[in-house]
Point group: C2
Chain length 400, copies 2
């Protein structure tokens, strides 16, 4: 081992005993990083070395940037106001360059490996590792003829998967949001620990959870050139539609057949669910309502049928969703669960849109579940709570 | 889906058709990032937005920093000299702050989530995904009484693992280097693709590969306070020794029992190997020679017995390694493979140290394999080649 390696070894492993009073290094920090620190009330103390910078800021996405103060030792510091419990993305802005904090692990969001900070929620352990049997999370690769490429997916297998080689399991397809990727539900969401705890306590059936990469470009197609095209332009909408359709085809023609071959699944609609957050919720509604022959459980976490939630028009139960809602009794029999969730503090458009879909479904007598996460916005704490409410409702009606 | 999410969706998915002549976005880039670009000769073009910065540099670790040039549009640019094929860590230095490039995926090295760039090696596909059956890589969690904590490990299961539920497999324990973590062998090293290809062509036996977290703090012990202690101080050496011993105990008392319970292993020394790179090579020599009852295949990739490679003293075959080498014939019978590798361009101390260990083993008539990776330094291309040479030699002598 070189001296460099030894130095790095120590740097990253033995260190940093002296923290200020009530502040502790965040659980999202890299091993040994003393900063950022989180106090019991959720305030965060940041510190970054930038000796020659003129201006350094902390950017909690969706909020005004916070100016850091330069100290005589070349470090910049800031203590934030208390943050809502849960996971928050952030970046540092150093003289106009927006980059990640080297003290934080990185989490894929906003189309890049960004920084994140976890604020503990007092009394909540449902998304933390506990002394229950743990499932594995598998990285798996499948070749998709739809995209003409190898694609990477994460697959949670429940704790008893390997010890019961003759048992088959139902499957939940669980999608990330826009700008995130297939790693989000594990790294940011702790979906594996949520499922471990729900299965361990008997609240959820053991299930396989598949987390796929939500972007797809059709084999042989080039990316459209959107340079100079305004946000919301017809060209942009067409590009989105093409990607959505390609993703739908990838799920139904490549991913599901691969999962049903490669894992011991119960490969029928009674044992197949799909849910997703934000963009993933929109994809879920598209994929499942286009393929009710494949799915019988549907969940939208802060995202659902885009044309209804965002399009600001009323639900037409007779024609929307290819007419699947036209007969409420038949729908309730066919779709075992239709589930909608939103955080009370989400941006008005999102909150109002989901709420309107919920009330419209009520008015049309369409059986569904509506859940509001108190005090949380368009963020992972909302989606962890969604999964905690959603997962126990799955695969209870189907013959096991 | 909010407008923000839609914007991010597009930003990260539809884009960037127009690249300069022979330059292509690096395979290590995040989806849709136009920069950095790599040309056919291995030169890299960097571009980063830092409108208010005074000085921006690219830092290829271990090399002098390269000054970027400010452009009128607020972006900074640089085209590097051609780089050796393989994976290279780098960071950006913006007015003295060292951070990661938002265009690159992050790779854990140097104790943080750093940027990396992949330079293709012409004619080499052994570490790329090919049309062969693929194994999975599992994230798994085990509770260690040694450290008093949940620990995360990655486990490669070979392609036929699930379809042959009555078959058991040999196990290679494969360790990362100092400053890296258990994700390195997959994300930087592509160990899974290397094994897929070797197993697919019949060159390697199907095997399980376990990649553990190489740092460990004993349960109930606090980190030592090394503030003010110089590099190489007795306090620092003692801290390193304690961590090494804790890791050794974690491997033998917690990890191996967990793997042998949780996976279908062949749980004896004839079917158990260990190898590691740099710090991981040093750990391998410590763990395996302390436990020849558990291991019969040993690999040091740019790292081996620290006291010999770095200590600048001669091998004493009678007393070193607890006397295991005293009888060369008995050793060759007991240890099925002793393997050493180093890159020809590694720092002099590392190259000379491994070479000296190799010649000393020769002189003592200790059967072993020595491999030099041509043209590569203390870097992942060396270790990918090491694994390609090492893995086919495993588990060939043992009854399957």
């Amino acid at each position: 081992m070189s001296k460099i390696a030894i130095a790095v070894f120590l740097l990253s492993s033995v260190c940093f005993a002296q923290n200020p009073a009530a502040f502790e290094p965040a659980s999202t920090n890299v091993w040994g990083a003393a900063y950022p620190l989180v106090d019991a009330g959720g305030a965060v103390e940041f510190r970054v070395k930038a000796p020659d910078a003129i201006k350094v800021q902390v950017n909690f996405w969706g909020n005004p940037k916070l100016d850091m103060a330069k100290q005589p030792d070349g470090f910049w510091t800031l203590t934030s106001a208390p943050l809502v419990p849960g996971f928050h993305y952030y970046t540092l802005v150093i003289d106009g360059a927006e980059l990640s904090d080297p003290g934080s692990h990185s989490f894929f969001g906003g189309g890049k490996d960004a920084s994140g900070i976890e604020i503990p929620e007092r009394g909540s352990s449902y998304y933390l590792p506990q002394d229950v049997p743990h499932g594995d999370v598998r990285e798996t690769w499948y070749f998709s003829k739809v995209t003409g490429s190898w694609r990477h997916a994460l697959v949670y297998t429940p704790p008893n998967y390997d010890t019961l080689p003759n048992q088959r399991f139902p499957v939940l397809y669980l999608q990330h949001g826009g700008g995130e990727d297939e790693t989000g539900w594990i790294k940011q969401g702790h979906a594996n620990f949520i499922l471990d705890n729900l299965i361990g306590s008997g609240s959820s059936k053991p299930m396989i959870v598949v987390m796929a990469y939500g972007y797809a470009r059709r084999a042989g197609h080039a990316d459209p050139d959107l340079s100079g095209k305004p946000f919301g332009s017809p060209e942009m909408m067409k590009a989105m539609q093409e990607m959505s359709q390609t993703f739908e085809d990838d799920v139904t023609e490549a991913l599901i057949p691969y999962i049903d071959t490669h894992f011991r699944t119960l490969a029928d609609r009674d044992h197949r669910a799909m849910a997703g957050l934000s963009m993933g919720g929109m994809q879920t509604f598209q994929v499942t309502f286009d393929h009710l022959d494949l799915f019988s459980y549907i969940g939208g976490f802060s995202g659902a049928a885009g044309q209804l939630v965002l399009g600001n028009r009323a639900l037409d139960p007779k024609s929307d969703f290819q007419g699947a809602l036209a007969d409420p009794a038949a729908f309730a029999k066919r779709v075992h669960l239709l589930w909608l969730g939103v955080g009370t503090e989400e941006p008005a458009m999102m909150h109002a849109g989901i709420l309107k879909l919920h009330t419209s479904l009520d008015e049309a007598h369409i059986k569904h579940v509506f859940y509001e996460s108190p005090g949380t916005s368009h963020e992972w704490q909302t989606w962890r709570r969604d999964l905690k409410d959603f997962a126990p409702r799955l695969f209870q009606q189907a013959a096991q």
